[in-house]
Symmetry: C4
Subunit: 231 residues, 4 copies
């Protein structure tokens, strides 16, 4: 296993780049068009693409969680020590705020902002639970059946989830926190964070429970077993 310092650097770099992409592409899109669907489509394509790239290139170093809810799931599966999971989450938050600031720097905007974008209510919370449920389910099944496909599967999953949820699928507490620091297309009011984060964690834990059952190897099964299915 790679030493902790480098793993934490990879988590910060990856989550930061992810947020810079989400925030930056949102700024670029809303600057160039008045059609919100087109802006969201550009935002979607940029986010899906960078996820494939980041998970492929940093996954072999840190596992490429980039998401405290995902690190929590691996800690609950006892595949990551609780202390490491906590440090992962910390670096994900630090990295993702740096990513938002970097996006602002690249677009000549005030570096520190506070979002006024209202995102709250039951429908949005259901959306975030579904989004995080799906994300964790995809990761667990992907690791189980074909680890090499995980980057593409996560990128494609988020591409779809941007559109099938009313919240545009944050699905990530660290990214949500960072997005409260930008008053642009992809922002979220700080006061709306607890609802989002609670819903995300709930969805992730439910996915862990369901997938643990669904993916358990049945006795005498010929379900393919991925020889590399350990972290």
């Amino acid at each position: 296993m790679v030493d902790l310092l480098r793993r934490l650097a990879a988590e910060a770099l990856g989550t930061g780049t992810l947020v810079a992409t989400v925030v930056g592409s949102g700024i670029m899109a809303e600057t160039l068009t008045n059609d919100v669907a087109l802006a969201l489509l550009a935002n979607t394509i940029a986010t899906g693409a960078i996820l494939v790239v980041l998970i492929s290139t940093l996954g072999p170093i840190s596992g490429a969680h980039f998401n405290p809810a995902v690190s929590l799931v691996f800690a609950l599966r006892r595949e990551l020590p609780a202390r490491d999971a906590g440090l992962y989450a910390l670096m994900q938050v630090v990295g993702s705020i740096a990513g938002a600031i970097a996006a602002h720097a690249m677009f000549e905007l005030p570096l520190l902002q506070s979002s006024t974008h209202v995102r709250t209510g039951g429908a949005q919370w259901i959306s975030e639970s579904v989004a995080a449920f799906g994300l964790v389910a995809v990761i667990l099944a992907g690791i189980r059946f074909e680890r090499k496909a995980v980057p593409m599967l996560v990128g494609l999953y988020i591409t779809a989830a941007y559109w099938f949820t009313s919240s545009t699928s944050f699905a990530n507490p660290a990214v949500a926190i960072a997005r409260s620091f930008t008053d642009t297309f992809s922002g979220i009011r700080p006061v709306d964070l607890p609802g989002f984060i609670g819903a995300q964690v709930a969805g992730a834990v439910i996915a862990l429970a369901l997938m643990t059952w669904l993916l358990r190897v049945p006795t005498g099964s010929d379900l393919p077993i991925n020889p590399e299915n350990r972290t």
Copy 2:
């Protein structure tokens, strides 16, 4: 083989997620833009992406049919017992209706709706036959030549078929039934279902016949034989 209960759960979960994506992304798109082509493009990209994800992650469990016409084809090929095919179809319908309801919940719409979207006539029925023909042909050839590519091939096929058919390629009786329960972008009037479903089944059976001939291993052929071409 995985036990039936888990296979049925995978079929319900997969078909439900597929319908939630089709319906949800349609709602999101028509909310954000007045350009119908742009709405269909977003709908297309979300659907194509989630198909790759669902077939990759649930395929090793249940085969990832998510479609009674596909289960019928595998039953006719004697690769799935008739009883299992019937249960698959049942769970696909149940799951897909749940998926439509979930989409409504995520967008704060009435959970149960009845579509008023007219989709009927010869051109639409030809479209659905062609769409289902192509879907089954892609699946059978994909399994025959390179099973690992099937998720991507199906996702890309549906991406194209959304645009080259006037019906936007439902190609799936379970999904069609579920879409009669939403009065949004992707809906279909209940009264239009029989025409669609009949056309889909016809297209699927024709594809089975043609591809059985086209893919038969010729004597002394060096056509590559996929060693895993059994379910």
Copy 3:
């Protein structure tokens, strides 16, 4: 090798499906939007996607040329007998005209049409030469280095070429002929065919010459040699 009858059926089916996609998605797009760039984008995505599908599923049967210029190149490389190449071209033309008719049927339009879409002049001919040059270069290099990637490479190449040529990259004499039979988005006047086809053949032959030099294995080279680089 698969028997000739099935190979010819695969060429007709594949070229027909390709043309049905090009023509059908063009009709769908121009029906739904007034923005020509958006229409072309939908047309592009559908075409690129179906190319990956068709080459993956029919390639193991016939080689998936779907294009008389490509069959000519393989005949010149002596990897396809001249008689077979002629029959391939014939079936490609027959299949592609059937594909245009099928698209019209799916959209309830007159089955037989004659295009009035003007596509002529030096810039368009240069475009078609460049487009066919690139297509053949991609195919020959793809076969040489990694045959399994050819479907994706051709799909992505055409995706790009739709936009970097002023002609939207027909790059295919059979498809061009079929497109003269539709008076919709993707049509071409019959009188403009000779210029397009001449330019396409010229581009293809130049690519054959250049790539034969570029891909020749140097003495003592460690350039990877694809063990399956024979048809």
Copy 4:
């Protein structure tokens, strides 16, 4: 290794095709729509697609740098002799200018132009540094972990970077120079070149330093080592 003449031809052909795609798709897009976001999306998709194609087909010949900043990085890593790197850069510039001229020829525009598109200022320079940093990081990590994925990773990275940077991510001195020769969508004023090129080289060198640390094999590590990770 392939002889130098062919490697230089591959670098010129690849960089030229890349620029023809960037410039040509920009011209096509701005001709067809008034929505700048839609134009940039078309530009993005064409560029991302052709990058995958070019790196896949020419990579085995020359390494598919197509970028003096990338050749510099490989020279600093002592994987390419300084003289070869200089010749690579020269041919990249020559090829890329030829690519811009080819795009103009395909769209019937004056072959030689001088851009008036202003691209300057700190935010743009930060953007170019970030863009080149990311490009080099992706290449180095991709080579380290899974060389075969590099074409797709670079294509997806640039797809995202077009949108998360205010400069639309040139990230390439040769391409920047060529783009000063077109007064269309993708152009850049000649006077703005030094700022862009300086920022790109800085970003590339910083990426080399950081990734050399991040990717170093730790003692006793089980970090996967790619057996082909030498050029």
